[in-house]
Amino acid sequence: MTPPLLEIDNLHTFFYTDNGVARSVDGVSLHVDAGETVGVVGESGCGKSVTALSILRLIRPPGRIEAGSAIRFEGKDLLTLDDKAIRQVRGNRIAMVFQEPMTALNPVFTVGDQIAEVARIHAGMSKRDAMAKAIEMLRLVGIPAPEQRAYEYPHQLSGGMRQRVVIAMALVMNPALVIADEPTTALDVTIQAQILELLADLTRRLGTSILLITHDLGVVAENCSRVVVMYAGEVVEEATTPDLFAHPHHPYTEGLLGAMPKVGGTAERLATIPGTVPPPTVWPAGCRFRERCAYAWDRCATEHPPLYQIAEGHVSRCHLAAEPERRAHPHQPIAAQPGVTAA
């Protein structure tokens, strides 16, 4: 068996703040195979973006990747590389697409210059060749009249066009992996559809793997072959996309799916998850989802659940895997009981 393209092994990324140590990523393991699109979903503060930034070592103090973490990519541990070697990986083998295309681009350079810069730095191209490459990349991502657009500034382009530019920049060196952190969250649905179609098309044509970080389960359902659900700094469930949507195991995944209104759905009321995510400085002992869970029992208060194997390729961090009969007896979650404020 060939090793996965990217393998995150027991990643801990902590932030040493005035309010204590925020354990934003607390023992995350996941992998991406070659040519695969993997989704990471979760709500704000679950650690999905910090995980993405950790891969490229873009964590700044007071943040720190703790000892014992490993991120293996193409046979190297990215966490042990020196600064020069990690720069060879960034933008070259692994590229990143950020959420907000306005802030990801430099407003005082033309978009052509910014794409060409990648080619000049990483491939040592001449100015002229790099500009030709930039125009070719703009054409690849479907920007009309790329010869003119290359000489325009980011503010002259619409949000969807800017996101195409950011994707063009990411693809210059034909990376093996693109990390897309909420690439369509700032865009309208019709533009989102265009961008997701573009990403899917590029993976088909170039064989690029994508780690897609999002809070939108709809985006995951349509674009990813496998899903990793994160909650409170941990992976709580992982499965193939059809399996996760058809048979969610973790009560948090169940809650997320129920809370989404569905086009064509007829439910009178939306299912909700009471309460809020606890702050990362004080993760609760035992199961971190316990107070918001309708199945929690005494075991959940004391014993931190491991990732149980549910089925082939399907894991879940919930004691229900060991005591499935408890699923028949849901109760009022602690966070929803009188006297406890809802979110």
Binding site: Q194, V263, G264, T272
Partner: protein, 359 residues
């Protein structure tokens, strides 16, 4: 009973150039919008950024002064009211803003924020006001003990509850909800949507619900108006709009929503290009440069389509979709080549979804 009636509402923002601020053009943010909201109903305004939905919501309340048009609310002509009368009327029409972080004064306690409306409108003072504030906080699911805390101590969902309590404090009959859940996480969003529905049921509130998230809108709305470049292009009951959308734009918009079900593979209508600038909107039908209607022709670029009732209660603005009041003679004169009997079949998005999930 019609509570709010908006007719031909327009808001043009001047584009100023140079040091003397000469007006060199107009951004036609809202360009002739008409709709009614009945007591106790939810009318949703949907559309992409820059379509004018938020401007419409604010112009109805005169938080932005409209350029022209008329707004009737509960027998009052809102646009002709003086400052004092307007303030009194605002008791009945309130707004909940999108961003729960910037819409609450960080220097005030949440109790003071909720209480402010009671004081301004002379509704309650002293201990009575305190009791009312506590009751309001409880009603939106916050502990009364929290009244003395500042907004920064609360999460996004809790702050949005404070914004709702503030709107409710003066006992309105109508609330403009301007993207009230867009800034919230899915699970918290569901809590706030349920709260808004409970309040509507208990108090008979009418909502103008402005949103870009089509799945939330389908869940909460009774009727939906789709806006594009300052115009309402389609308006219908929620089931009709989602089940059988008429306008090619609505069809594309609905087909673009990612379905949270990997079994569903919907035929996606990809629109080419971007929304044009409202400072320089296309002539005729504003959607015609991106339209995929099979009968689209030169007449679409010339004739401004009226918003017509194409089926009972289902309004759409398209001259190629019969029945239309724009005669074939008028279309021919404008360069039309396709008589309006060759029309786009009304899409049935829901049925295709149901068919695939049934397997």
């Amino acid at each position: 009973m019609t509570l709010l009636s908006v007719r031909d509402l327009t808001k043009h923002f001047p584009i100023k150039r140079g040091i003397f601020g000469q007006v060199s053009g107009q951004v036609r943010a809202v360009d002739g919008v008409s709709f009614d909201v009945a007591a106790g109903e939810t009318l949703a305004l949907v559309g992409e950024s820059g379509c004018g939905k938020s401007t419409t919501g604010r112009a109805v309340l005169r938080l932005i002064e409209p350029t022209s048009g008329s707004v009737q609310f509960d027998g009052n002509d809102v646009l002709s009211l003086g400052a004092g009368d307007l303030r009194r009327l605002r008791r009945k029409m309130q707004i909940v803003f999108q961003d729960p972080f910037s819409s609450l004064n960080p220097r005030m306690s949440i109790g003071a924020i909720v209480r402010e409306g009671l004081t301004i409108h002379g509704l309650a003072e002293g201990a009575a006001a305190d009791a009312r504030v506590n009751q309001l906080l409880e009603e939106v699911g916050l502990r009364p003990e929290y009244a003395s805390r500042s907004p920064h101590e609360f999460s996004g969902g809790q702050r949005q509850r404070v914004g709702i309590a503030r709107a409710l404090s003066v006992e309105p009959t109508f609330i403009v909800c301007d993207e009230p859940v867009s800034a919230l996480d899915v699970s918290v969003q569901a809590q706030v949507v349920n709260l808004l529905q409970d309040l509507q049921r208990d108090r008979g509130l009418a909502y103008l619900f402005i949103a870009h998230d089509l799945s939330v809108v389908e869940h909460i709305a009774n009727r939906v108006a789709v806006m594009y470049l300052g115009h309402i292009v389609e308006l219908a009951a929620v089931d009709d709009l989602y089940g059988t959308p008429i306008m090619p734009y609505t069809q594309a918009l609905l087909s673009a929503v990612p379905a949270p079900d990997p079994g569903v593979k919907r035929e996606r209508i990809l629109l080419a290009g971007d929304v044009p600038s409202p400072a320089n909107p296309p002539s005729g039908c504003v959607f015609h440069p991106r339209c995929q209607h099979p009968a689209r022709d030169a007449a679409c670029a010339t004739i401004v389509p009226p918003l017509e009732e194409k089926a009972p209660g289902h309004w759409a603005a398209c001259i190629k979709q019969p029945p239309t009041t724009v005669s074939w003679e008028a279309q021919k004169e404008a360069g039309g080549t396709n008589p309006p009997d060759f029309f786009l079949p009304r899409a049935a998005l829901h049925r295709s979804v149901d068919a695939t999930t049934a397997h």
